[in-house]
C-alpha cells in the first residue's frame, strides 16, 4: 500500500470520526429538536460516508480489485438520510415542539394548516 493511499484512508477515517463525533455531540448538546436534528442527519451521515469510502479504498488496495458495495451503501445512505430528516422536521412542526428563542424561522410560519385561511379537514373525514 502506497503512502499516499494510506494517508488518504487515514484522512478519511479521521474526518469520518470527527464528523460522527460532532453529530453525536450536537444531538446530546443542542437545545431544541430543530437544532438537534442537524447533528445525526447531516454530520453523522457525512462521517459514515467518509468511513465507508475509506473502507472501500482499503479493501481495494489490499485485494487489488475495486468493490462497489460500500459505494452503494453510501449512495443509499445519502438518498435516505435527507428524507428521514425532512420527515422528522415536518413531524416536529406538526406536533408544535418547543423551540429555543435562537432558532431562526419560527415553526408557526411553516405550519401549512395555519398558513391557509381555514382549517383543513382530515382527508378521511374522521370517523369511519
Amino acid at each position: 500500500m502506497s503512502v499516499i493511499v494510506e494517508a488518504l484512508i487515514s484522512l478519511l477515517l479521521i474526518a469520518g470520526g470527527i464528523f460522527v463525533f460532532i453529530g453525536s455531540l450536537g444531538m446530546a448538546h443542542l437545545r431544541d429538536f430543530y437544532m438537534r436534528l442537524h447533528g445525526p442527519t447531516k454530520a453523522t451521515t457525512l462521517g459514515i460516508g467518509c468511513m465507508l469510502i475509506a473502507s472501500m479504498l482499503y479493501f481495494w488496495s489490499v485485494d487489488g480489485k475495486p468493490d462497489i458495495q460500500e459505494l452503494l451503501i453510501t449512495l443509499f445512505l445519502f438518498i435516505t438520510a435527507p428524507v428521514s430528516a425532512h420527515l422528522l422536521a415536518k413531524s416536529g412542526l406538526h406536533l408544535r415542539l418547543k423551540h429555543a428563542d435562537k432558532t431562526q424561522g419560527k415553526p408557526v410560519e411553516l405550519r401549512p394548516e395555519e398558513v391557509g385561511d381555514k382549517p383543513v379537514p382530515h382527508p378521511d373525514k374522521g370517523h369511519g
Partner: protein, 946 residues
C-alpha cells in the same frame, strides 16, 4: 384381491347417491344398491374356497410405524356378518325408498347408509386390530349421522349425540384395550393375536386389557349399564333403526367378543363378567320392553334383551354356547329387522307408534298383521320358528354351564324368566296393535303399504320360518364355517327341531304358560310398577354432560379466566418447571469447553439488548415508545447474528423487523396511544418474579449448553451442502433442499395466515381516530413530495437488490425469503409514500393469487422430482456454459426458492397492504358508498374488494 373389493365397494358406494341424487329417487336407489349387491355376490363367490378350508387373506402395508396394515380376512364369522350386513342392507335400501317422505333428501340418507355399511363390512373383515378400530370409530360417526338424520328434531339430535358420546367413549377405551392386546401378543395382525391366547391370558395386564376391550364392546352393544343410548337412538328414521339396531351396529360389540374369543376369553374373569352383564341386560331389557308403550321403544328394549342373551352365551363360552350365540345373531337379525320394518310400516300408514292409539289393525292391514305376528312368534321362541331353536340351545347351555359354581342353578332360572318376559312382550306387541280394539283413533286412516315396501319384511319372515322348519338344511353350512372361525376347530353338531322331552323343552313350555299369564295380568303389573318414579335416561345423561361442561368451565375460569396474561403465565411456568428440572439434574453448570472470550463490543451489545428488553416492558403503557424499544431489541438481535457469523439470519431478522414494525405501527393507529395502569402491584411482583426466574433458568440452560461440546447434526449439513445440494450457502441449502419439506409447510402456513388476515380485514370497519392522543388532527400533508419522489427512485434499486439477494442465495447469504421481504418492503414504501389509490392503480392485481402461486410453484417443483423417479423435493443442479456469461449453475432449488419468494411477497403484501387500506378511505366497503369525495376513490376498491 376380491377381499379388498368387497371391503371397498360399499365405501365407493358413498359417492353413488351423491352423484345420482339429481336423477330421481328410483334411479338413485337402484344405483346405490348396485355396489353392495356386487359386494354380496363377491362374498358368496368366495364361499366355495372357504368350504375347501382356504385361508382368505389380503394384506397391504399401510402405516407400518403405527402397526396399521390394510389387511382383510374372510372367514366363517366374517361371512356370517357380511351376509347380514350386505343382505339386510339391500333390503333396507328398498324399504327406505318407500319410507322416506317425498321431500326428504334421500341422497344424503343413502350416502350415510352406505358409509355405515362400509364401516360395518370393514369391522367384520379387518385382519388388523388398528384397522378394526378405525372402522369401529367410523360406525360410531356414521351412526351419529344416521340417527340425527332428522336434524330438525330435538330428540333426534340429542339421541344422536348420546349414541356418539357413549359409543365414542367406548371406542377410545377399546383403542387402549386393543393397543394393550397387540402389545401383549407382539403383533397387531389378527391371526397372530388369535393364535397367542395363552400368552395373553398369562400376561399381568390381562384384566386391564379385558376391561377396556369389554368396555368398548358393551357400550357398542348396549349392554347394561350402557344400554340407555339405544332406546333414545330410536329417534332415527325406522330404516336406520331396523338396520343399525337390529342387524348391524349393536352386533358390532357382539362381533368383537366373538372375534377375539380365542384370544381373550379363556379366563374365569371373562366368563363371570360377560355372563353376568349379559344376564342383567337380558332381564332389564325384557322388563322394560314389557312396560313401554311406544312400538319402537318395545323393540329397542327387546333388542337390548336379546343382545344380553347373546352376551351370556359368549360368556359361557363352551363350543355349543358359541354356536348358539352365532345362531341367535342370525335369527335375531332376521326377526328383529322384520319387526322394526313392520313397526315402520305401521307408523308410516297410521301416523303413530303409540300403543294407545293403535289397535284392531288386522282388518286394515291383514298382510302386515300376519307378517308381524310371524316375526313376533319367532322373537317369542314359538316352535317351528328360528327363534325357538336358538332359545332351546340357550336353555340347554344355561343348564350345562359351571360358570357360577355353586349357584349355577341361578342361570337356568333367570334364563327362563327372560323367556317368560320375552313371550309376554311379544304377545303384547302383536295383540295390542292388531287384535285388541283401539282405544283412540290413529291420526291417519290405516291401509296396507305399497307391496314393494312390504317385500323386505316378507323375505325376512320367510327366512325365519324356513330356518325354523329346516334348520339343518338352511343354517348348518353357514354355522359350521362361523363356529369354526371362532372356536378354531370344526364343531360336530346337528340342528333339529325335536330333541325329545327334556328339561329345555319344559323350560320353554313354562315360559309360554307363565308368559301368557303375565300378559293377561299385564294391567296389574303395570299398576304396580307405576308406583315407582321413572328415570329418564336422557335427562340424567344431559345433566351429567352439562355438569361436566360446567365443572370444566369453572376449572378453566379458576386457572386462566380468559386472560391471555394468565394463560401465557401458565405456559411460562410449565417451561420454567421443565427447564428447572433439567438444570437441577446436571452437576456442573460450566461445561468442559469453558467460556468463550469476551470483548467490549459483545458487552455493549448485551447491555443494549437488556436495555431494550427492560425498556419495552417498562414503557409498555406508552405504546409507540414501547414499540421503538422493541425495535432496539430486534436490531441488536440482528447485530448479534452478524457478529456470530450468521449473515443469513441477520438479513432475515432485519427485514422481518422492518415488516413487523410497519405492521405494528399500522395496528397502533387504531389503538389508544396510552393504556391505563391495569396491573395491581401484587400482579406486577408475580410477573416480575416469573419473568426473572424464567430468564435466569433459560440463561443458565444456554450457558450450560454453550460451554459443552455437543454432537450436533450441523457437520452433516456443512459436509453435504455442496455435493448434495449444489450450494455453498448451507443455510439456504438446508431451507430449500435438506429440509425443503419444512419450508414448504411454512410457506403454506404463511399463505394461509395471509389469507385468513385478509379475510378478517375484509369488511372490517374500525373506529378511525381523527386526531392523536393529545387532540392534534393529522397533518394534512399526507404524501410529502420528498418522500414520494425518493420512494419512486428507490423502488427499482430495491427490486434490483432483491433480485441480487435472491439469485446469489444458493451460494452466499440471501435467498427467496429475504428477497421476498425486501420486495414487500419496497412496495409497502410505495404504498405509504403515494397512498393506496395511487399504488392500487399501478399494482392492479390481488395479492392472494401471488401467494397461492408461490406455494404451487414450490409444490410442483417438489413433485417434479417424481417424474425422474426421485423422492419428493429432491433437487437437481447442473453447470451450464453460455458465451459471454461463462459457466453458471442452475438448480431446481432456485425454482423452489422462487416459490418461497412469491409466497412471502404475496402473504406480506396481503397483510400489510390490506391493513394499511383499512386506515384509509379505501378500505373495503360492504355497500357502494355514494359520497361525493369517496366516490372516485371507492370505485377502484369496490369493484374488487381486497
Amino acid at each position: 384381491m376380491t377381499l379388498l373389493w368387497i371391503a371397498l365397494l360399499p365405501l365407493l358406494g358413498v359417492l353413488v347417491p351423491a352423484l345420482t341424487a339429481q336423477r330421481g329417487r328410483s334411479f338413485c336407489s337402484l344405483a346405490t344398491a348396485v355396489l353392495p349387491a356386487t359386494a354380496l355376490v363377491m362374498t358368496l363367490l368366495n364361499v366355495p374356497a372357504l368350504l375347501d378350508g382356504e385361508q382368505l387373506r389380503f394384506s397391504v402395508t399401510w402405516m407400518p410405524e403405527l402397526a396399521l396394515d390394510l389387511a382383510f380376512r374372510l372367514d366363517g364369522l366374517s361371512l356370517l356378518f357380511n351376509l347380514l350386513i350386505l343382505g339386510i342392507g339391500l333390503l333396507i335400501i328398498l324399504y327406505a325408498h318407500y319410507y322416506l317422505a317425498k321431500d326428504e333428501p334421500f341422497g344424503r340418507f343413502y350416502a350415510f347408509l352406505m358409509l355405515f355399511m362400509a364401516s360395518m363390512v370393514g369391522i367384520s373383515m379387518s385382519d388388523n386390530l388398528i384397522l378394526l378400530w378405525l372402522f369401529w370409530e367410523l360406525t360410531s360417526l356414521s351412526s351419529f349421522l344416521l340417527i340425527g338424520y332428522w336434524s330438525y328434531r330435538s330428540d333426534a339430535r340429542k339421541g344422536a349425540r348420546m349414541a356418539l358420546t357413549v359409543t365414542g367413549a367406548g371406542g377410545l377405551a377399546l383403542l387402549a384395550g386393543l393397543l394393550l392386546l397387540g402389545d401383549m401378543a407382539g403383533s397387531f395382525n389378527m391371526g397372530d393375536v388369535l393364535a397367542s391366547g395363552d400368552v395373553i391370558l398369562a400376561d399381568p395386564r390381562y384384566p386391564l386389557m379385558l376391561g377396556l376391550v369389554l368396555l368398548g364392546a358393551f357400550t357398542k352393544s348396549a349392554q347394561f349399564p350402557f344400554h340407555f343410548w339405544l332406546p333414545h337412538a330410536m329417534a332415527a328414521p325406522t330404516p336406520v333403526s331396523a338396520y343399525l339396531h337390529s342387524a348391524t351396529m349393536v352386533k358390532a360389540g357382539i362381533f368383537l367378543m366373538a372375534r377375539l374369543h380365542p384370544a381373550i376369553a379363556g379366563s374365569e374373569l371373562w366368563s363371570v363378567v360377560v355372563s353376568l352383564v349379559g344376564i342383567v341386560t337380558m332381564l332389564y331389557g325384557a322388563w322394560f320392553a314389557l312396560m313401554k308403550t311406544d312400538l319402537k321403544g318395545i323393540l329397542a328394549f327387546s333388542t337390548v334383551s336379546h343382545l344380553g342373551l347373546i352376551t351370556v352365551l359368549l360368556g359361557i363360552g363352551s363350543p355349543m354356547a358359541i354356536l348358539a350365540a352365532l345362531f341367535h345373531i342370525l335369527n335375531h337379525a332376521t326377526f328383529k329387522a322384520a319387526l322394526f320394518m313392520s313397526a315402520g310400516i305401521i307408523d308410516h300408514e297410521t301416523g303413530t307408534r303409540e300403543l294407545k292409539q293403535l289397535g284392531g289393525l288386522k282388518k286394515a292391514m291383514p298382510v302386515t298383521a300376519l307378517l308381524t305376528t310371524l316375526a313376533a312368534a319367532a322373537m317369542a321362541g314359538v316352535p317351528l320358528f328360528n327363534g325357538f331353536l336358538s332359545k332351546e340351545m340357550f336353555f340347554t347351555e344355561s343348564l350345562a354351564t359351571p360358570v357360577l359354581g355353586g349357584v349355577s342353578w341361578l342361570l337356568p332360572a333367570l334364563a327362563t324368566l327372560g323367556g317368560i318376559l320375552s313371550v309376554a312382550y311379544s304377545l303384547r306387541l302383536v295383540h295390542a296393535v292388531f287384535f285388541k280394539p283401539a282405544r283412540e283413533e290413529p291420526p291417519k286412516t290405516p291401509h296396507e303399504p305399497p307391496h314393494l315396501m312390504r317385500l323386505p319384511v316378507e323375505i325376512l319372515v320367510v327366512l325365519c320360518v324356513v330356518v325354523g322348519l329346516f334348520p339343518a338344511f338352511m343354517a348348518t353350512g353357514l354355522l359350521e364355517l362361523a363356529s369354526e372361525a371362532v372356536i378354531g376347530s370344526p364343531l360336530d353338531f346337528h340342528l333339529a327341531i325335536w330333541h325329545g322331552v327334556n328339561l329345555p323343552l319344559i323350560m320353554s313350555l313354562l315360559a309360554f304358560v307363565v308368559g301368557i299369564a303375565l300378559y293377561w295380568r299385564h294391567g296389574n303389573v303395570r299398576r304396580f310398577t307405576q308406583q315407582f318414579a321413572g328415570i329418564d335416561a336422557r335427562r340424567v345423561f344431559e345433566r351429567i354432560l352439562i355438569s361436566i361442561g360446567y365443572r370444566s368451565e369453572q376449572l378453566i375460569a379458576a386457572l386462566e379466566g380468559n386472560s391471555l396474561q394468565r394463560y401465557v403465565g401458565w405456559l411460562w411456568l410449565a417451561a420454567l418447571v421443565m427447564g428447572g428440572i433439567g438444570l437441577v439434574q446436571i452437576t456442573d453448570l460450566t461445561g468442559a469447553a469453558g467460556n468463550q472470550p469476551l470483548d467490549g463490543i459483545l458487552i455493549l451489545g448485551a447491555v443494549m439488548l437488556m436495555f431494550g428488553g427492560v425498556a419495552t416492558a417498562a414503557t409498555h403503557r406508552y405504546r409507540l415508545i414501547s414499540l421503538l424499544m422493541l425495535s432496539v431489541v430486534g436490531l441488536f438481535v440482528a447485530l448479534t447474528f452478524a457478529r456470530f457469523s450468521a449473515p443469513d439470519l441477520a438479513l432475515t431478522q432485519l427485514s422481518v423487523e422492518v415488516v413487523t414494525m410497519i405492521l405494528l405501527m399500522l395496528a397502533l393507529f387504531f389503538l389508544p396511544q396510552k393504556t391505563p395502569r391495569e396491573s395491581s402491584p401484587l400482579r406486577n411482583v408475580r410477573d416480575m418474579l416469573l419473568a426473572g426466574t424464567l430468564g435466569l433458568v433459560i440463561a443458565s440452560l444456554n450457558y450450560a449448553v454453550m460451554t459443552r461440546d455437543t454432537l450436533s447434526i450441523s457437520s452433516f449439513f456443512v459436509e453435504n451442502s455442496k455435493p448434495g445440494g449444489g450450494g455453498y450457502n448451507v443455510v439456504n441449502v438446508i431451507l430449500v433442499d435438506f429440509r425443503g419439506f419444512d419450508t414448504l409447510g411454512e410457506i403454506t402456513v404463511l399463505a394461509i395466515a395471509g389469507l385468513a388476515i385478509f379475510k378478517l380485514l375484509n369488511r372490517l370497519r374500525l373506529f378511525m381516530p381523527h386526531s392523536d392522543g393529545e387532540g392534534r388532527v393529522w397533518s394534512p400533508d399526507r404524501y410529502p413530495a420528498v418522500l414520494t419522489s425518493i420512494s419512486m427512485t428507490l423502488l427499482p434499486l430495491a427490486l434490483l437488490v432483491s433480485a441480487f439477494i435472491f439469485l446469489r442465495g444458493h451460494n452466499q447469504p440471501g435467498g427467496g425469503f429475504i428477497a421476498g421481504l425486501i420486495t414487500a418492503v419496497a412496495l409497502i414504501l410505495l404504498y405509504m409514500a403515494r397512498g393506496v389509490a395511487w399504488a392500487q392503480e399501478r399494482l392492479d392485481f390481488p395479492f392472494q393469487p401471488v401467494a397461492v402461486i408461490g406455494v404451487a410453484v414450490a409444490t410442483l417443483t417438489g413433485l417434479g422430482s417424481w417424474l425422474f423417479g426421485h423422492p419428493f423435493l429432491t433437487s437437481a443442479f447442473g453447470y451450464f456454459s453460455l458465451p459471454l456469461i461463462g459457466t453458471f449453475e442452475l438448480a431446481t432449488a432456485l425454482l423452489f426458492d422462487l416459490g418461497v419468494y412469491l409466497a412471502v411477497v404475496g402473504a406480506t403484501l396481503m397483510i400489510l397492504a390490506n391493513l394499511g387500506k383499512v386506515t384509509t378511505a379505501h378500505r373495503p366497503v360492504t355497500e357502494t358508498s355514494g359520497k361525493d369525495t369517496d366516490a372516485a376513490a371507492a370505485t377502484s376498491s369496490a369493484k374488487e374488494p381486497r
